[in-house]
């Protein structure tokens, strides 16, 4: 039971009639271990590779937050064990400032890019696109494989940067110059920063290769009858995500290339009038603009947050419709709002730069555009709630996480409206209010969407179920814990407590938060432990989970559930089914659900 089982599920099968269980009915390729599990071109295997790599990253990124939360919660306490593990980074059992900044930087980088972008889109776009549109694989399986290996390379480089003598990049996940442009500025501006840039270049290549494939596959390889308006919302969401990625990641690349020039060629794109304390030298660089980098960064950075949330919106819509046994409410409005979000998200990046001294008129333009995003966001929330309304709710762990997603998205979205006002933002910028906003609306919400997806599609991935009891514990502890952690941060932020400091005890005005910070840290540790239980549940269930015995365990309408329980490369054994209806015929004409592959009956009431 090696990676064989981990990645592909068991090949020993349970018999039941009417269900094709054979893995390789149609395709008898010669597969070796290497082509099947490592350099696989099967989209399902690549999806699992992304998922498991993403999980490893999430554990690392989560662990980092536990370490810096220890510092924030117990700034006066020493933890000798930290010195045993991290040596000079934690002298006397107290983490050093350099290490603190490295931790928060890497935590952000890892979570935003490696878990919630690479891990999330990589897993679900790969898994669901061919299965739900009725294709045997991606348009270019080879490029798809390269996409994973570029991600893997990026991961290895980023991980290695943790072991450099000077440590990894530490100027924040947004790598603003001058810290990121001047090797002499801090330890974290040295080789670690180069590793960061190179890793991100591979990362961008990976997401471009993936995105190209997803778009092409969705637009060109749908099965007969699968018109665009019959696509499940997951596919729409993944399509818009890929389009956003393909349009905005290259701009980040431009920014990073200029940054590399500044670092190593002596240009001054971002640098001007600088005196470095550590070397006591004034630099010759003149005429550069650090704000230019912020523009290039946030032109990606803002769409990036939607690259993270759009796929989970799709996953949640799907899981929610299936488990409400009702059609999704307002399908067209859902697609339209995804589209609106996609367009608007390209036009609001400067709301991250309200306090850079921008022209107040420009600020108000960006305020307007930013607040406009609240409209499609609210439409989506409304439609989710109305989908739940009077539904026959089945509270599976996937469903609970979907509902939790909506709750988190509302809570975090509302604070976005505060931040989006350029005047309010003068007070709130770079405080814990901001931290609370984006962790709820993006961090926790996206994780919830991802969990919903994993619990829901696990049976399709591995032919087994995950353990429900652990699923429920996982949900409730995470849900309550996340609110306990992030809700209080709003108050800290309103009181003016800035982010990115490792010790607030010298501030008289923030002494009042001492107990609160300790409380937050304690809850964070508990929540982290529960995530480890999820990881345990995941791997345990791959081997020991309850077996799936029916083809369509959730009674869903979409095409992935018409494949064999453990589909081989090529997905369908015989013909790919033809599609005759939209993806949301639940509770129609007295029937619980009607598969998309079922022809429309002669006396069926009109639908889609």
């Amino acid at each position: 039971m090696s990676s064989d089982t981990i990645l592909h599920g068991h090949s020993d099968v349970v018999t039941s009639h009417d269900v094709h269980l054979d893995e390789h009915g149609a395709h008898h390729h010669k597969e070796t271990f290497i082509t099947k599990y490592i350099f696989s071109q099967d989209h399902k295997m690549i999806s699992k590779q992304f998922l498991i790599t993403g999980m490893i990253w999430a554990i690392i990124g989560g662990l980092m937050s536990v370490i810096f939360r220890l510092q924030l919660g117990y700034p006066d306490t020493t933890f000798p064990i930290l010195e045993d593990i991290f040596g000079k980074w934690a002298p006397g059992g107290k983490i050093s400032p350099d290490f603190y900044y490295a931790l928060v930087t890497m935590h952000g980088t890892i979570m935003v890019f490696f878990v919630l972008t690479g891990g999330l889109s990589g897993t679900f776009a790969n898994f669901l696109v061919p299965l739900q549109i009725g294709a045997r694989d991606m348009a270019a399986p080879f490029l798809n494989m390269l996409s994973y290996w570029a991600f893997f390379t990026a991961s290895i480089i980023m991980i290695s940067s943790l072991f450099l003598t000077a440590g990894p990049a530490s100027g924040g996940w947004t790598v603003y110059p001058p810290l990121s442009a001047l090797g002499d500025a801090t330890d974290g501006s040295k080789a670690g920063m180069d590793f960061w840039i190179v890793a991100m270049v591979f990362f961008v290549v990976s997401s471009l290769l993936g995105g190209l494939n997803y778009i092409t596959t969705i637009l060109n390889m749908r099965t007969k009858g699968m018109s665009m308006v019959r696509m499940p919302l997951t596919i729409w969401a993944l399509l818009f995500t890929a389009i956003l990625g393909v349009l905005s990641f290259p701009v980040l690349l431009s920014g990073l290339i200029l940054l590399l020039f500044d670092r190593h060629a002596g240009t001054s794109f971002y640098l001007s009038d600088i005196f470095i304390a550590s070397t006591q030298k004034a630099l010759p660089n003149e005429g550069g603009s650090a704000i230019l980098f912020q523009h290039l960064f946030w032109f990606l950075g803002h769409p990036e947050v939607y690259i993270i949330i759009l796929p989970t919106m799709g996953l949640v819509s799907e899981v929610m419709a299936v488990n409400s046994r009702k059609p999704i409410f307002g399908y067209r409005a859902m697609v339209g709002s995804l589209f609106a979000i996609c367009i608007l998200s390209l036009l609001v990046w400067a709301h991250h730069m309200f306090v850079t001294g921008m022209n107040p008129f420009l600020g108000s333009v960006f305020t307007l555009l930013t607040l406009l995003i609240a409209v499609p966001s609210a439409i989506k929330v409304f439609n989710w709630l109305t989908t739940l309304w009077k539904g026959n709710l089945r509270f599976t762990p996937g469903m609970l996480f979907s509902i939790g997603f909506v709750s988190m998205f509302i809570s975090g979205g509302l604070t976005g409206i505060f931040l989006g006002n350029s005047t309010l933002d003068i007070h709130l910028h770079d405080t814990y209010f901001n931290i609370a906003h984006f962790h709820l609306v993006m961090g926790v919400a996206a994780f919830f969407g991802m969990f919903a997806g994993v619990y829901h599609w696990f049976p399709k991935m591995y032919g087994r179920y995950m353990n429900n009891t652990m699923g429920y514990i996982h949900f409730w502890v995470t849900m309550i814990g996340a609110y306990l952690i992030f809700w209080p941060m709003h108050y800290e932020g309103l009181a003016g407590m800035p982010r990115r400091y490792m010790d607030y005890s010298n501030w008289v005005s923030f002494r009042q938060f001492e107990d609160l910070n300790r409380f937050i840290s304690t809850v964070a540790i508990v929540v982290f432990a529960v995530q480890l239980m999820f990881v345990f549940n995941f791997f345990y269930s791959i081997f020991k989970g309850r077996r799936v015995t029916t083809q369509n365990p959730w009674g869903a309408t979409t095409l992935e559930w018409t494949t064999p329980i453990r589909p081989g490369h090529g997905n369908w054994v015989s013909e790919i089914p033809e599609v005759h209806r939209w993806a949301y015929d639940y509770g129609k004409d007295g029937r619980e659900f009607i598969s998309q592959a079922e022809p429309v009956g002669s006396n069926e009431s009109s639908g889609h």
Binding site: P141, N220, F261, S268, N285, E286, G287, L296
Partner: protein, 194 residues
């Protein structure tokens, strides 16, 4: 399990208007365009800052532009020759394309040197530094095209397994025309705004 076999299988089963590989190339082109759009808008923003120094467009760039345009013609003729099954002239033309691509790269580098000699090196934050970064990145894209053309040339030398599938050369020529057009855009951009 060869990738090409897999794709053909997929494709033949599904309805399709445009070959997925061609479509993929078009999106990739959109993506590369965004990268250069990012860089040229950075240039425009930066131009308004104090300390901006511009440069004289070197004569070499007119020559390199000519080479680039000629190479586009060559690749177009190569495509036609392939479709007409004139494999011999296809081979020659595709090699010519690669050679012209190399000539372009060399001329660009000579052009950079001309500017460099006027004292505009990497230090500073003016038009010349942007040119090195932007046109340098473009040269890398052309180099990628040259490698592709050489690979296709070598493949056409193999006597066995001759393929009459025109998709690869169509995709490659689309890319080639794109890097050509991209240079023309950049050239005009630098001519007009500096």
């Amino acid at each position: 399990m060869l990738p090409s076999i897999e794709v053909k299988e997929n494709v033949s089963e599904q309805r399709q208007k445009i070959h997925p590989h061609k479509f993929t190339m078009w999106i990739a082109i959109g993506s590369i365009t965004m990268m250069f759009a990012g860089l040229t808008s950075a240039y425009i923003v930066k131009r308004q800052q104090p300390g901006w120094i511009s440069f004289e467009i070197p004569r070499m760039f007119w020559l390199s532009t000519t080479a680039m345009l000629a190479s586009s013609l060559a690749v177009q003729m190569a495509l036609k020759a392939f479709k007409d099954r004139h494999i011999k002239s296809y081979k020659n033309l595709i090699l010519l394309t690669a050679v012209l691509g190399m000539v372009f790269i060399i001329l660009q580098i000579l052009g950079f040197q001309q500017i460099w000699k006027t004292g505009l090196t990497f230090s500073g934050a003016g038009a010349a530094q942007f040119l090195y970064a932007i046109a340098g990145l473009h040269v890398l894209h052309v180099f990628g095209g040259v490698i592709t053309m050489l690979v296709m040339f070598l493949k056409s030398l193999r006597k066995t397994s001759r393929s009459y599938n025109s998709v690869p050369i169509e995709v490659a020529s689309t890319y080639w025309h794109f890097v050509d057009a991209l240079w023309v855009y950049l050239f005009i951009f630098f001519l007009v705004i500096h």
